[in-house]
Amino acid sequence: MLAVDSVDLDVRAGDRYGLLGPNGSGKTTLVRMLLGLVYATRGEIEVLNKPVPRKVNEILPDVGALVEEPAAYPHLSGRANLRLFDAAGRGGSRRTRHQRIDNALEQVGLGGIDRRPVKAYSLGMRQRLGLAAALVRRPRLLILDEPGNGLDPRGIRDFRQLLIDLNAAGTTIFLSSHLLGEVELLCTRVGVLDRGRLVLQEDLAVIQAPTGRIIVDSPDAARAAALLNGRVEAREGSRLVVRHDDPAALNARLVADGIRVTEMAAHRRSLEEVVLEITSAGSDQVGGTRE
């Protein structure tokens, strides 16, 4: 079975790239291919300018990864787990290793963890530990599969800020998610997978560019509609959708005619609208009338 087909992924250094797509669209398979865990049958993959899977052992020291759910040795403490994973890779004296493990734990908000074994951790703590494991090597590129899983709203916000800070310091971030709102808040560029194909890849700013419509909310909606006759596309109670490019000019015109304006905003498409429009139902949804 072909899980991923004709995907032409283009992530640039410094991006905060969000890979979106319904369940079963191939996000995780793609992430595994990038990390050399699953071999692509055709095509070329380059990560940090080197070919995967041939040079994967040169690439991965600069990559931090979280693939699906985090995993750890349940009978060991969180710190012992990080030491094991860190020791499995090359590089660093004992002191620098301890130092960077402490730093990573601090970064994800686990600075004070004790000797309790990981099997006693909550889902959120496990997720944080998994993120810490990805951060230990101070990677140039972070590849994160569903990083927000199991985190509460505060955890998600802290983590978003952490990623933005790391990105500002030069780390490229590639994450997959089906939380559109989260991607909208965090990413600068998105790709959308559907049934194994990349159906959209664009800067978020372009996707969310003004659509040439302005939404006006006014208690004098009827008068406004009469004044802007021909430009009003829809009217619903006090809300008008007006075809116009310049909110400031439109506002000035309305106010000059004595029309009160409570709210005015350039219309932008939400990521949700865009994604739902171009993707099909996820593989977890089994309807009787598909296709």
Binding site: L35, L37, L60, A71, Y73, H75
Partner: protein, 291 residues
């Protein structure tokens, strides 16, 4: 990476529980014999058991004969079968591989850990059973070992059937050095035999993500081999079966040492180890890690 695997081995409760259980069986048998004085008559029951009543320092040999047919292979198959499949099913395998750890290195480290486990188990059983034997049955000066059985010194029993040859150990006096050399030889052959089991289980462990599948698969091979070893109709394949020369280590305790089966035992196990490790490597190094 080898250090990491050894650390995981010694920090894992299962390692010590299984070794404790391996030690417990011979201790229980010794206690029963010491309390009831009902040792099997010479030539019957498990190898060496009749002799240990005379000399407790021979009990390690009896203990190894007790755990070899079932308990030791079960423990080895479980540890080796768990080595890759266990990490795959808990998800830690993918995090080791993206560290990065090369697949070959990981497999070698796993193998070293399994060898360590086998050696640890055999040595600890040898040691505890020696203490048990001497404590419960007392020990005679080594020179007197020969006197107890009443057989003529230096007379080989001629049979290759292991259980009936036990009496021959008392046929000749052994010096302490000789005894130690022979115990070392026996431990070596048993270890190599267990490595044969480990190689099969390790190969299966790279094929499936199920620990039980890999462990039971290896045990099924052994049970099948045991069935064929006793089947006259299968005489043509018997020299190539993995369990055919398992008990040849008993020949170390003959006077003089009966080398033929010992050499064949080492040879056949070497073939099994090489073939199945090569298969494990070939399979694992190109495998899609999807767990």
């Amino acid at each position: 990476m080898i250090t990491v695997e050894l650390y995981k081995l010694v920090r894992r409760p299962r390692t010590w529980i299984s070794i404790a259980l391996l030690c417990a069986l011979p201790v229980a048998v010794a206690v029963f014999i010491a309390v009831t004085h009902l040792a099997p008559p010479p030539g019957q029951g498990a190898a060496f058991l009749s002799a240990v009543v005379q000399d407790g320092s021979l009990y390690p040999a009896a203990a190894l004969a007790l755990i070899l047919p079932v308990f030791l292979p079960v423990a080895v198959a479980l540890v080796a079968g768990d080595s890759v499949a266990g990490e795959a099913s808990t998800g830690t395998l993918r995090y080791l591989l993206v560290r990065p750890v090369s697949r070959t290195k990981l497999l070698v480290a796993k193998l070293v850990a399994v060898i360590t486990f086998v050696l640890l188990a055999v040595l600890i059983v040898t040691l505890t059973s020696f203490i048990t034997g001497v404590a419960l049955f007392g020990s005679r000066p080594p020179a007197a070992v020969g006197g107890s059985g009443g057989l003529q010194p230096g007379l080989p029993t001629g049979g290759t059937q292991a259980s009936s040859s036990a009496t021959s150990i008392s046929g000749a006096p052994l010096t302490v050095t000789q005894l130690l050399e022979r115990v070392a030889g026996a431990v070596a052959l048993i270890t190599v035999s267990m490595l044969g089991v480990a190689a099969i289980a390790l190969f299966l462990s790279t094929v499936t993500d199920s620990v039980l599948g890999a462990a039971f698969g290896a045990l099924a091979v052994l049970v099948g081999s045991e069935v064929l070893v006793t089947l006259n109709a299968a005489v043509a394949v018997q020299p190539y079966l993995p369990t055919r020369y398992w008990l040849a280590w008993i020949d170390f305790f003959r006077q003089p040492i009966f080398w033929r089966d010992i050499q064949r035992g080492f040879g056949i196990q070497a073939v099994y180890v090489v073939v199945f490790l090569a298969a494990a490597w070939a399979n694992f190094s190109t495998k899609d890690v999807t767990a």
